[in-house]
């Protein structure tokens, strides 16, 4: 497998301009001859589809949702970064670029990070023009907040619902193109496979949720913007149906998967109480500005928080990190919380949470101050847990939140399958081993508004292949593969139908819960070789169990949500194995990837720039075969690799 990142030469500041100049153009008349398929209507997919349609391409957009407005971008709370220096506090493109490279712990490409910082300002312009109601100062200019430990205020926001407002802006632009007849919007479609013809991506196979019918859709280029894969951990801050199927099936068709083990855990989530709980809800990190994290000093102390005297409380982050205290980065906060809980200090059901206490701030600044800052978060916490955080401390615990890994793409966002582009959280791109807060929305929109429209167009200029129809042998073959998969699910078990369901004795949910437990234990906040190896064996055994014991409702045509879940879970099981292999192979600690074998005497991550300053890109090698690991070396010419130190 050849990994050519297509990096631009010359000065980094001019690289993107230069690249755009080099990309061939297509005449407006000719653009209409090209069809483009976009999978996903989140920030990345909706903005790419709208922009390509504005340029004159014929676009089809697919989403599993019933409406494009429901893509999980809608849930982003905190904000979106841009190097605008509106606050005159010393921000610049250069600074955002360096922050992104450092934040990613020197595991991302410099050229890509620089481009992201460069484009960030134009994103805000575009969103404002679309009517996104960002927060404003009294004088009418845009407001900014400080976010994710940055030294400058560069985060634009719309109350606690920035993702929602950005998504609606992007979706409205999309619907405008739908109305103009330039975008065909196909909702309630599960994309289940990629169609390639002579090695080039030419379409997808999807299942219509209502009828269960399989369709082969074709185009001259395919763009995947299907979001992240945190649900491999079963419960995460993602939506319940967020999935990896589109990228996983593309991986099986030849697209390399980069850094699958780089997944981010968010420290301030509402912990789980009951096994039936379906998701973990994120609460804004800003809470750590005013809340103090603590646990009982005595392991196993079961007294309620209020009954534990001050002297018997351990404010462990403040104790371990006197300078940064409760504001240490996400991964550090998460790791320390997990350690204390494993040592028996945790509180709440199963001892799996830590206190976040606002008592001091409330007595210092008054209840009203807290209410104005966090009123909506306190209300959300109370709605979910039934507990009043003005009166008793919140309980929080880290939860899987974001996946830096994803399909490998070159500088033009093209995967190792020609004609297959990957955008947004679905690609591995610019966040390296750790993503900065408020940078995912920025990346999704950079990809969709500006990068892909230029590079996809540039690629198409040389590739006006003949149209492929849905009766092309490649389409028929791919559809047959999907049909066989659907027919085969759960069928190696008890076989014959039982009532209106068939198969064995395990529900999809119970298998997914089990996968989540394995993955969060071995491949979550903290990893070690022995645990990863054991987990790999467990995941493989679970895959067997899935094949033999899965129970599904019949018939498999028509609306069948259990079948949709099972198809997603099958892909998560395979992806889980790859994540474990990747975590095993990366014998270092970097960013969110913490290998216990690679830490300093005081428990901090030890990166290995001699052996691992590269992107790992995995090649699918067939069912039952070990995948192949390739690497793309990284070079730092502007940022000097340094070691993080928060002590």
């Amino acid at each position: 497998m050849k990994l050519d990142p297509q990096l631009p030469g010359g000065a980094i500041q001019d690289a993107w301009t230069q690249r755009r100049r080099e990309l061939p153009l297509i005449s407006p008349i000719n653009k209409r001859r090209f069809k483009v398929l976009v999978v996903g209507s989140g920030l990345a997919g909706a903005s790419a589809a709208a922009t390509l349609a504005e340029q004159g391409f014929r676009v089809t957009l697919l989403t599993y949702h019933d409406s494009p407005r429901r893509a999980h971008s809608v849930a982003a709370q905190g904000g979106i970064n841009a190097a605008r220096n509106y606050q005159n506090d010393g921000d610049s493109i250069e600074r955002l670029f360096l922050d992104t490279v450092k934040g990613g712990d020197f595991r991302a490409r410099e050229a890509g990070c620089h481009r992201l910082a460069e484009i960030s300002g134009a994103i805000i312009d575009q969103c404002v023009a679309q009517g996104v109601p960002f927060a404003r100062e009294y004088g009418g200019t845009l407001a900014n907040r400080n976010f994710g430990g940055a030294l400058v205020s560069r985060t634009f926001y719309a109350r606690g619902q920035t993702g929602q407002q950005l998504l609606y802006g992007a979706v409205q632009a999309l619907l405008r193109q739908v109305d103009a007849g330039r975008v065909e919007l196909l909702t309630q479609r599960d994309v289940l496979d990629l169609i390639t013809v002579e090695g080039v991506a030419r379409g997808v196979v999807c299942r219509q949720q209502g009828s269960g019918r399989l369709e082969a859709l074709t185009a001259h280029a395919v763009l995947l913007a299907s979001g992240g894969y945190s649900n491999v951990f079963h419960r995460s801050t993602n939506a319940v149906k967020s999935n990896a199927s589109a990228i996983w099936r593309a991986h099986r068709r030849g697209a390399a998967f980069a850094n699958p083990c780089f997944t981010q855990i968010h420290p301030t989530c509402i912990p789980s109480g009951d096994p039936g709980q379906s998701k973990l809800t994120l609460m804004s990190e800003s809470l750590r500005n005013d809340g103090r994290v603590w646990l009982p000093a005595q392991a196993g102390d079961a007294r309620p928080a209020a009954a534990i005297p001050e002297a018997e409380r351990d404010y462990f982050l403040e104790r371990q990190y006197p300078t940064y205290g409760n504001m240490v980065p996400r991964d550090v906060a998460s790791r320390r919380a997990r350690e204390r809980c494993l040592e028996g200090h945790g509180v709440g059901p199963g001892g799996r949470s830590v206190y976040l206490d606002f008592t001091d701030t409330i007595s210092r600044e008054g209840r009203a101050a807290i209410e104005s800052r966090y009123g909506n978060l306190f209300a959300m916490y109370e709605r979910i847990t039934g507990s009043d955080s003005y009166a008793e401390p919140m309980r929080i615990y880290p939860a899987p939140h974001y996946t830096m890994g994803g399909l490998w793409v070159d500088y033009n966002l093209m995967s190792t399958v020609p004609g297959l582009f990957v955008l947004g959280e679905a690609n591995f791109s610019e966040h390296g081993a750790n993503r900065l807060g408020a940078s995912a929305l920025m990346q999704g929109l950079a990809d969709g508004l500006f990068i892909a429209p230029a590079t996809v167009s540039g690629w198409l200029a040389g590739h006006l292949h003949a149209e492929v129809n849905s009766d092309h042998p490649a389409c028929q073959a791919a559809t047959a593969v999907v049909q066989a998969r659907i027919d085969g699910l759960g069928s190696s078990g008890l076989g014959s139908g039982f009532g209106s369901s068939s198969g064995g004795g395990r529900s999809c949910d119970s298998l997914h819960r089990q996968l989540g437990e394995i993955m969060i234990g071995a491949c979550g906040i903290s990893r070690h070789a022995e645990g990863l190896r054991a987990a790999l064996a467990q995941v493989q055994a679970l895959e067997q169990e899935f094949a033999q014991e899965l129970r599904l409702p019949e018939p498999r045509v028509g609306r069948n949500p259990e079948l949709e879940k099972a198809l997603r879970l099958e892909d998560f099981l395979q992806l889980a194995a790859l994540m474990l292999r990747d975590a095993l192979a990366r014998e270092e600690s970097c960013g969110a990837h913490f290998r216990e074998e690679h830490q300093s005497a005081d428990g901090e991550a030890l990166r290995d720039d001699v052996n691992f300053c590269h992107i790992a890109a995995w090649q699918w090698n067939g069912d039952g075969q070990e995948p192949l690991r390739h690497s793309e070396p990284l070079h730092y010419r502007h940022a000097t690799p340094s070691r993080r130190n928060y002590r």
């Binding site: 809608v74 300002g121 009418g140 619907l175 939506a239 709605r383 429209p453 409702p553």
Partner: protein, 245 residues
Amino acid sequence: MSSTTIRLTLRIWRQEGPQQPGAFVSYALEPLSPDLSLLEALDRLNETLLMAGERPVGFDHDCREGICGACGFMVNGQAHGPQRATSVCQLYLRHFRNGDTLTLEPWRARAFPLQQDLSVDRSAFDRLLAAGGYVSVNTGSAPAANALLVGREQAEQAFAAASCIGCGACVAACPNASASLFVAAKLGHLALLPQGQPERQRRSTALQIAMAAEGFGSCSNQLECAAVCPKEISADWISRMNRSG
């Protein structure tokens, strides 16, 4: 978090598909933690049904945190159930009493055809927005962001209107199945911002025509919509829409 459990009976509208007949079926749930949400209770019921060889209950959901707008059905005759400003995915069992029976029914509106059980097709909302619920600006042609000043109050009001999640509860609660609150919120959001001005009149006319064409009823000021809205979109937006045409 409480440690006791709660027993509930769910009386659910079951209808396999749009062409099949439907009827209510009652299910006694196993004792559950009151810290589960109503949708999580449905998850549990579905797992039980599946293992018993029955078809699980179809219902819409995704984010499970009150922001995607996918969930929604009637609980005891109320859209999204009894809690104010709460979508049904955020409705927790602790708000019910041990032994309660809850009747769950899909949104009933001509413009929202039934798909299965509690799930309906709300694509009409997207067609309304496609008719003009946007600002016509191509990527790349935007002026510098701070060139357009927007007062803080005004931005906050526009935000309040724009926070509608498109769940359809307002339509379900309205005796006329009108989409006025949904449409008025979108018109209000864009009308408050300078970016929305050039197309203001055209947008308003287009959306109101589309609303009738999709089979939504007209507004007779019953205000049931605002009462059930999980995002507390105010009925004042409807008055504004009617004033400014």
